[in-house]
Symmetry: C2
Subunit: 247 residues, 2 copies
């Protein structure tokens, strides 16, 4: 399974991937292959157990040699992430830590947003079996945990790398957002409040005594659509125009 319609722009600017204390060379190689599948090319290795360079890694990389050859070796995780502004750590079942926990899909979107702002985020994957220590996890700003079969949730190292890389790539292919960002919530609240006030006045004119609320269904609709500031201005204009209509 592979693809051809991936746009070049979504391949550029991928974050570095840090493998912390990986054990098997095969897994490092398979991770490099998964990285390159997703257009990630910057590999950083923290104290790989079986030494570096590693022949088994090369065999498992299945052609992703350039990623392995460009890999940089670090003694500690702290050294490996020194230049990064934001660290996303993939973990097994979330432990008791302060960082927010998100799914890979959300991580892909956040990574895109950070890179677009000129930030320098990185992806961290811990060693097979034991995972990251609490101290290592303490360097993470965000924890990434996939929603999997809770009875069998342990992913192979390269599989975890693939999910992170895949969601990074997919996040670069989102349907274009509306011309500008969703308006601040305050603007939406203000529009709904105005609509409610106008409908209330209409109901009073018609002789109703009861307060007329904007149907909660309608609030749901507008929440879902996440209107932009421009769209809210247009909606205000529509309400004004309808109100001006001579009876």
């Amino acid at each position: 399974m592979a693809g051809t319609d991936r746009s070049q722009s979504s391949l550029a600017g991928g974050p570095p991937l840090i493998l912390c204390r990986p054990q098997l060379g095969e897994n490092v190689g398979a991770a490099a292959r998964a990285m390159l599948n997703c257009g990630l090319t910057e590999l950083r290795l923290v104290a790989p157990r079986d030494g570096w360079p590693n022949e088994r890694a090369r065999a498992a990389a299945a052609g992703a040699d350039a990623v392995l050859e460009g890999a940089r070796l670090f003694a500690t995780l702290g050294d490996a992430v020194a230049d990064l502004t934001h660290l996303f750590a993939a973990t097994a079942r979330p432990r008791d830590h302060a960082a927010p926990v998100i799914i890979p899909r959300a991580a892909g979107l956040e990574l895109r947003a950070l890179v677009a702002r000129g930030a320098r985020p990185g992806l961290l994957v811990g060693p097979e079996r034991e995972g990251l220590t609490n101290e290592e996890l303490g360097l993470a700003d965000t924890v990434v945990t996939a929603r999997l079969n809770p009875a069998f949730s342990s992913l192979n190292l390269a599989q975890a790398v693939l999910l992170l890389g895949y969601e990074w790539l997919e996040a670069g292919e989102q349907p274009p957002a509306p011309a500008d960002e969703a308006a601040p919530k305050a603007e939406l609240v203000a529009f709904l409040a105005r609509l409610e006030a106008e409908l209330d006045a209409c109901a009073r004119d018609a002789g109703a005594v009861q307060h007329s609320e904007v149907d909660p269904t309608l609030r749901g609709l507008f929440q879902r659509a996440r209107p932009t500031s421009r769209e809210l201005r247009t909606l205000h204009g529509v309400v004004s125009n309808l109100l001006r209509r001579r009876s």
Copy 2:
């Protein structure tokens, strides 16, 4: 990386996965592990090259033994898919075939829809390197192709299985749809036409000579929100109420 918040309902009813002429036992085992990570348990094997059962498969399954033990062996792909109503085939670069080509995310949603309707879909993954033959691909109703790095798009067998299983699972965790389905397009078109007519009348009342169109931005907003029939009725009510307001 693993998860705990996967709901039981999204794990049930997973489609069978058919591995057609797989070569390495390791890959069959790794595929079984990826399947179970995603709650898929029904494995069908068509003519595995290295024989069956296979010790290397068991070692690579990392505990997904139940999937391997339950695997069913078939001589031909036709036999393996005889009871299925819809076949999704993962392929490398799409070739010249009649079946529609979709990405894994869309496949996950289509699989959910088919299972919900009581259909019996299956997932097909071909052998390492050579892939499915044209004859085998001819049995597929839909081709699934991930958007990857076009310069290095060949996924390991188990990685392809993971992406399919992962998107099946994610599709079971979509945010709940509005109480009912999106209204037929005709209802949305009718609402926008009415809004345009009313705004036009307002503009004429105000002395304008120009035809007043509903702002295209606003059309985009409503298209995006995909209103339900109930929401459209509420919107009609809002317009009627605003028009009734005494000046």
